[in-house]
Amino acid sequence: MPDATVPIAAPLSPAPDALSGKTLARSPWAESWAIFRRNRAALLGLALLTAVALLLMFAPRFYAIDPFEIVGSPNTPPGTEAPLGTDFLGRDVLAGIVVGGRPTVMVGFCAALITTLIGITIGALSGYYGRMTDRLLGRVIEFFQVLPALLFAMVLITLFAPSFFTVTLAIGLVAWPSMARLTRAEFLRIRQLDYVRSARSIGASDARIILRTILPNALPPIIVSATLATGTAILFEAGLSFLGLTDPNIMSWGLMVGSGRTHLREAWWAVTFPGMCIFITVLGICLVGDGLNDAFNPKLRQR
């Protein structure tokens, strides 16, 4: 049992020892981190993400080969000529992985950020004010929700030339409704709690109640959802690249999988390695997301 090393009865919140008088003020965030720290799967996810991040940050410096340059004969298997082989044009696969990760991950993060910002704003207003605001914003949410995501993104990208900006925006715009619904539900739940009523009774303004009283309490599920949204956005970007809808002048993992797929039988490495990279990144994000979900779950919190 690997868990045997973890002291089960260790108090998560410091025992209020009246004699020593030494209680540490620990915020709910600190308690969640204490739970997260013991979650092996979540730590593995964090390690995977750290590895990917380090690779993307520093590897291009040590492996400075242009991913578009033809370095050898086509479809060279992994070996001395190219560590991970070359693709059907003779381009270095490792160079593609090292350079192509950045746009993939950046698009993922930025799109998730857009998703989260729009989702929180619309969801918070809708859930807090209710009534007409809710009905109006509810229709907006539904409108975006019933749009076929891939088609909508494809249309956006074809209307405006494919670039980092349009791809990110397209992905961000199709994903926010679920975030808005989640935020709305949290606001609906929290706005009728006692501490919101007491905030109102001390004369806090609406803006203050939304931003300072309710939002911090609504954040845990939003953070989990934002994490998972990053994974989804990365997959979405890979999907768009695979279909050739992103800027072909920017190397990305999805692009590599897409361009290599016709030559899969001759050069499995040109598809498999970038595919693995996408898989590992998204897996890491999902593990961290699940870990956060557990860490924020009050039912798993022991006192």
Binding site: S27, D194, Y195, S198, R200, S201, I202, G203, A204
Partner: protein, 360 residues
């Protein structure tokens, strides 16, 4: 100070014919009907009655916190220093909350925001209303925690609500409520969720702070012990209406309305060393009628032990009480009234009838 004496004559808060309605599935329901009372600076007014009689709704209406969007103040005035709070713009109303009037709720366990240290929550009021800097507000928060007798205030000010016991959390709530030295403090069953031993401490604390700051206290409770200990005046409510009001002596010693008498009898009389006989506790038969389906006359009529024919026709109006009661079954106490005692009045047909008998 001499100029102010004329103002002191006027009550701090004058509530006249307050009416609050709720839109429900059963149509528009009146939850407060013709509620009028005054509150003087520095006095303690207790509002008593069963659950659902409109005590809490009165408090919320005073605070301007009638639940939206279903609740409405449909009539009456709340005069505070000559201005009608009912007509006040929401923004001006908000400025008064926590500043001129503050409220303590029933559930100290859930009334504090779990994600902030308690000190920050006290500081927030001060920064909202007094424009204090972060540092000043923090220092004042420590001072306030000391005032509500929380030991080691310097350390505890940084702790989170879950690190406090129920009684301690209610003290923090009191500190938040008193932070801006409000003129009016409304406490809605502040000790219902607490231990008996802690209850006494909280009541003592409220009493001391009230005296120290000359704050008027509206205490909503069904704890008659607390009423006896704290109240100057008592207001008895039933089904959204006021049924009796008077000084604490009048209400506790010479209750006039059958409902008040019932309430007072429904308490186990515990004395040290004497076990009260089992199954001997009187109760008021029946329940409070649903507010959307009140009888046309006195709302208490269906449960009243001395119900008359006239009770069924129209709601009785408030008449001076007490009267020397002649009817058997209800204890009659001779009336000795001090000159300046607040008016003791009750809304009861039966009382009015008996009054005429004695007058004759």
């Amino acid at each position: 100070m001499t100029a102010a004496t004329a103002v002191v004559e006027q009550p701090l808060l004058q509530i006249t014919h307050l009416e609050v309605c709720f839109d429900t599935w059963n149509g528009r329901t009146k939850v407060l009907d013709d509620v009028s009372f005054d509150l003087n600076a520095g006095e303690t007014l207790c509002i008593v009655g069963e659950s659902g009689c409109g005590k809490s709704m009165t408090a919320l209406a005073l605070m301007g916190l009638v639940p939206q969007p279903d609740g409405h103040i449909t009539g009456g005035k709340i005069l505070y220093r000559g201005q009608d709070l009912v007509q006040l713009r929401p923004e001006a109303r908000r400025q008064l909350r926590g500043n001129a009037m503050a409220m303590i709720f029933q559930e100290p366990l859930s009334s504090l925001n779990p994600v902030y240290p308690v000190g920050e929550q006290i500081a927030e009021v001060l920064r909202t209303h007094k424009g204090m800097t972060r540092k000043d507000a923090h220092d004042r928060a420590i001072e306030l925690l000391r005032q509500v007798r929380i030991p080691e205030a310097e350390r505890r000010v940084r702790e989170f609500p879950h690190q406090f016991s129920g009684g301690m959390r209610q003290r923090v709530m009191i500190a938040i409520a008193l932070a801006c030295n409000p003129k009016i403090l409304i406490a809605d069953e502040p000790t219902t969720a607490l231990d008996v031993t802690v209850q006494a401490q909280i009541f003592d604390l409220l009493q001391d702070l009230r005296e120290a700051h000359n704050t008027a206290l509206i205490l909503i409770t069904h704890d008659m012990g607390a009423v006896a200990e704290l109240a100057d005046r008592v207001l008895v409510m039933y089904a959204g209406r006021k049924v009796e009001e008077g000084s604490v002596e009048d209400i506790l010693l010479r209750p006039a309305h059958p409902y008040t008498r019932g309430l007072l009898q429904c308490r186990p009389d515990l004395k040290l060393g004497v076990l009260p006989p089992r199954h001997d506790l009187p109760e008021i038969p029946g329940v409070v009628p649903p507010l959307y389906d009140l009888p046309p006359g006195c709302a208490f009529a269906p449960r009243c032990p001395v119900v008359q024919n006239d009770c069924q026709t129209k709601p009785p109006s408030m008449l001076p009480a007490p009267v020397a009661l002649t009817q058997a079954g209800l204890q009659s106490i001779p009336v000795v009234r001090e000159f300046e005692a607040p008016p003791h009045r009750a809304a009861c047909v039966w009382l009015a009838a008996n009054r005429q008998e004695t007058a004759a």
